[in-house]
């Protein structure tokens, strides 16, 4: 108990802050912050596995998040039959072509000595393959995108419950991580950072512009939910009586029947959205707790000790007979897969997939701020970082507004500087993030909850 005091204190403060938001702003806001905190926590856990356990720097978090989101679309949207019949054949042909291309290249890599001829022939194969694929796919893609472009214009998905996408998202992200890892993991740390950042941009570019698969910037809206819909709840008897029971004290004060009914209706509308958010919180909490248990177990297992050894001294670990390359690849895939889960969760919560919203600032660098601020190498620290930084990210605007009003209290309301500052309130969050990161890195480089190694 004693040694975990700082963890408990930090989490209590965090919870109190969220509850304060609930009391002073509204429970709706508090819960949506809480849900996003949970999703961020999953992302930071993924990044923490890579950075904290193994010292691998992955600036491609955005790409894996987007792939998780894509999984949510592909799993949950109903298939568009017309599109399949119009262009499905061409697309499937392309898929086979890609598989064949990959197999041929693998075959060449395996069976021929490394030489210039081999490199050039592989390059020629890839180029001609791409041209071939383009020619096969073009008519199919055009046919698919022509079908009802305002509503569908894409292949759709499998029409399964969206929850499955959390697992599929993990596989998608893991698959990408396998390719990226094979390509880039040999690089030095800062090269790896740049390479992963750029690869994630390529992934986003593909998701944005391959309309036949993702609808691109036209967005996919109205995804199925694992939670009930507010409108349905508002007309369900048990929910109304539940709200009535909860607020019986408040309602009993109102004697007039019609006033009471109006008040109850209001409460039911508010309660329904809170209830839906609570359902999400429950689902997300389950994911976070399962992941936390696994990551904690892994951290203290022989495997975790090996990862730390590899992180702290690669050569020594190598000399001890540990396969550094393989372990790096494994942990890269695992971490990315967790980020993929978070991406699918995010789309599930929002109910829409907007490829245009994936920006490195929000989905890569912010997550890194979370990991560094929270404490890399410590799962509780990483989760706390996710909570604290997301909380600050959302509440930065109100805080900045308060500070601006405080410091410019002497100025008149129409003063140009004051108006300008109040207009630019949303950007103070960047300032706070940056300053927070710089201060933590300077004065507490191991984060709020530093890594501690217990030898059990």
């Amino acid at each position: 108990m004693r040694k975990n005091l700082n963890v408990i204190t930090a989490y209590s403060i965090m919870m109190v802050l969220i509850i304060l938001v609930g009391i002073f702003q509204s429970w709706n806001i508090a819960l949506s912050i809480f849900n996003m905190c949970l999703i961020s926590a999953v992302m930071t856990m993924g990044a923490n596995i890579q950075w904290g356990y193994a010292g691998l720097i992955n600036f491609g978090i955005m790409g894996y998040t987007a792939l998780g989101g894509l999984a949510a679309v592909i799993i949950s949207v109903d298939p568009v039959q017309e599109a399949w019949s119009a262009g499905g054949f061409d697309i499937l042909m392309c898929l086979w072509l890609i598989i064949a291309l990959v197999l041929i290249i693998r075959f060449i890599l395996k069976n021929f000595q490394k030489s210039k001829v081999r490199n050039y022939s592989i390059a020629a194969l890839i180029v001609s393959g791409i041209i071939l694929i383009r020619f096969t796919a073009e008519p199919g893609i055009e046919a698919i995108e022509d079908i009802n472009p305002a509503k569908t214009g894409f292949l759709g998905g499998f029409g399964l419950p969206i929850i499955f996408s959390w697992i599929v998202g993990a596989f998608f992200a893991g698959g990408l991580a396998f390719i990226v890892g094979k390509v880039a993991l040999g690089l030095r740390a800062d090269y790896l950072a740049i390479a992963t950042l750029l690869i994630s941009e390529i992934v986003i570019a593909i998701i944005k512009h391959e309309d036949w698969l993702t609808r691109g910037v036209k967005n996919v809206i109205g995804l199925k939910r694992p939670a009930p819909y507010e409108v349905d709840l508002q007309s369900t008897d048990w929910f109304i009586s539940l709200v009535e029971k909860f607020n019986s004290g408040k309602l009993n004060l109102i004697s007039n029947f019609s006033d009471r009914q109006a008040e109850l209706n209001q409460l039911v509308i508010e309660g329904s959205s809170v209830f839906v958010k609570l359902c999400y919180s429950g689902l997300f909490l389950i994911v976070v707790i399962i992941l936390l248990i696994f990551t904690q177990k892994a951290l203290y297992s022989p495997w975790g000790r090996m990862m730390r050894a590899i992180r702290d001294n690669e050569e020594a670990a190598n000399a001890m007979g540990k396969n550094v390359v393989k372990q790096h690849l494994l942990i890269f895939i695992l971490g990315s897969a967790i980020v993929g889960i978070a991406g699918a969760m995010l789309v599930t919560q929002d109910g829409l997939f907007t490829p245009g919203s994936y920006r490195p600032m929000r989905y890569t660098f912010l997550i890194w701020v979370m990991v560094i601020v929270g404490g890399s190498g410590n799962n509780f620290g990483a989760i706390l970082g996710g909570f604290a930084v997301w909380f600050l990210w959302i509440e930065a605007a109100p805080i900045a507004l308060f500070l601006i009003n405080f410091f410019t209290a002497g100025m008149s309301e129409s003063h140009a500087l004051k108006i300008h500052l109040i207009e630019s309130v949303p950007y103070f969050r960047f300032l706070m993030m940056g300053l927070g990161l710089l201060l933590i890195m300077r004065y507490r480089p191991k984060g709020i909850l530093p890594e501690k190694i217990e030898i059990k």
Binding site: I199, A205, S424, F430
Partner: protein, 336 residues
């Protein structure tokens, strides 16, 4: 005649834009590569530092415009650039003093410095957005075109017009002057040579009496000049938007790495490699083939290798390929 038309077409839509864009990238890439070679970290605040310098330039341009000062046919921004550079250098030196110095003195690993530069990126981005706002700003004035497409057509009687914007000429000229000055400085002067020595082997350089403080300050000053001019030229040619500048960081990184990071000349060429390949691969050659091929063989599709949406993806793919086959860059930089 048709061949001439086709050539003008390529010149107008590929060569000139790529040369301009390449020059802007090259300046940024030299900035990245200098910081990497001498201060030894990947500076993720590159794009935002460039936008900071550009912002100061824009503010001064507006100030001069309000005073009624102008350069006639040339954009007013050219007189504002020195002030932008001044502020940029002050900003960079103070950031170095308050942020980077601590880690340099403690000999922190490069990754940690890169992380710190992300903090700087956030702060700089916030400052730019708070001061000038996130929206598009145009600050170009003066004569827009040197040759207008229609005038060119009338002059030569060709079907294809050639438009030459004054910003394009200014960009290329300024880049040539600046880069030759820089290489003269690095290769011929004593400070430049000691910078190179410091970049090659820090300990040996210190032993031979090179003052590291002076090196660091000189590096930031050069970086400030490059960042501001590169950013301002980009802003003059296209338009200024903080988010675009942040995004430009990626092709700039690609250019620096393709050229061999730590090698300024490589970075300079890398900028053009990236720019030309981006535009070559995403240009629709239909019209070009219509000119050079007989009518019966005219292509029906756009004859575009990749859609323009993948412009950025091209440079990143080049980078990945280079990293795979030649991690030290095309022009052998530091062996990493």
């Amino acid at each position: 005649m048709d061949i001439l038309n086709a050539l003008i077409l390529l010149l107008n839509y590929i060569f000139i834009p790529a040369l301009t864009y390449g020059s802007q990238l090259a300046l940024g890439a030299i900035f990245v590569t200098l910081i990497y070679g001498i201060l030894r970290f990947a500076n993720f605040a590159t794009g935002d530092m460039m936008s900071f310098g550009t912002m100061v330039t824009i503010l001064f341009t507006w100030y001069f415009q309000s005073l009624g000062i102008s350069l006639g046919v040339l954009p007013t921004a050219l007189i504002a650039i020195p002030f932008g550079i001044l502020f940029m250098i002050i900003y960079m030196l103070s950031i170095d003093k308050f942020v980077f110095k601590y880690y340099r003195v403690n000999k922190s690993p490069p990754v940690q410095l890169a992380m710190v530069s992300i903090g700087v990126m956030f702060v700089t981005q916030a400052m730019v957005r708070i001061i000038i706002g996130p929206s598009d700003q145009r600050f170009f004035d003066g004569e827009k075109f040197i040759i207008k497409a229609r005038e060119f057509k009338e002059m030569t009687g060709l079907n294809e017009g050639l438009a030459l914007k004054s910003t394009q000429v200014i960009t290329v000229l300024v880049t040539i002057v600046l880069v030759s000055l820089l290489f003269w400085f690095l290769n011929k002067t004593k400070t430049g040579k000691s910078m190179k020595a410091y970049s090659d082997n820090e300990d040996l350089a210190l032993l031979s009496g090179i003052d590291p403080k002076k090196i660091v300050i000189t590096t930031w000053i050069i970086a400030g000049i490059l960042a501001t001019i590169g950013g301002a030229l980009y802003g003059l040619d296209k338009s200024f938007k903080p988010f675009t500048y942040f995004n430009n960081m990626l092709p700039i990184f690609a250019a620096a790495i393709v050229g061999g990071i730590g090698n300024p000349f490589g970075a300079f060429l890398g900028g053009y490699v990236i720019a030309f390949s981006e535009i070559f691969l995403t240009y629709a050659y239909k019209k070009f083939f219509m000119y050079i091929l007989p009518e019966s063989m005219e292509p029906e599709s756009l004859v575009q290798l990749l859609s323009t949406d993948y412009k950025f993806a091209v440079s990143f793919s080049i980078l990945v390929i280079v990293l795979l086959y030649r991690p030290s860059g095309i022009f052998k930089g530091k062996v990493l």
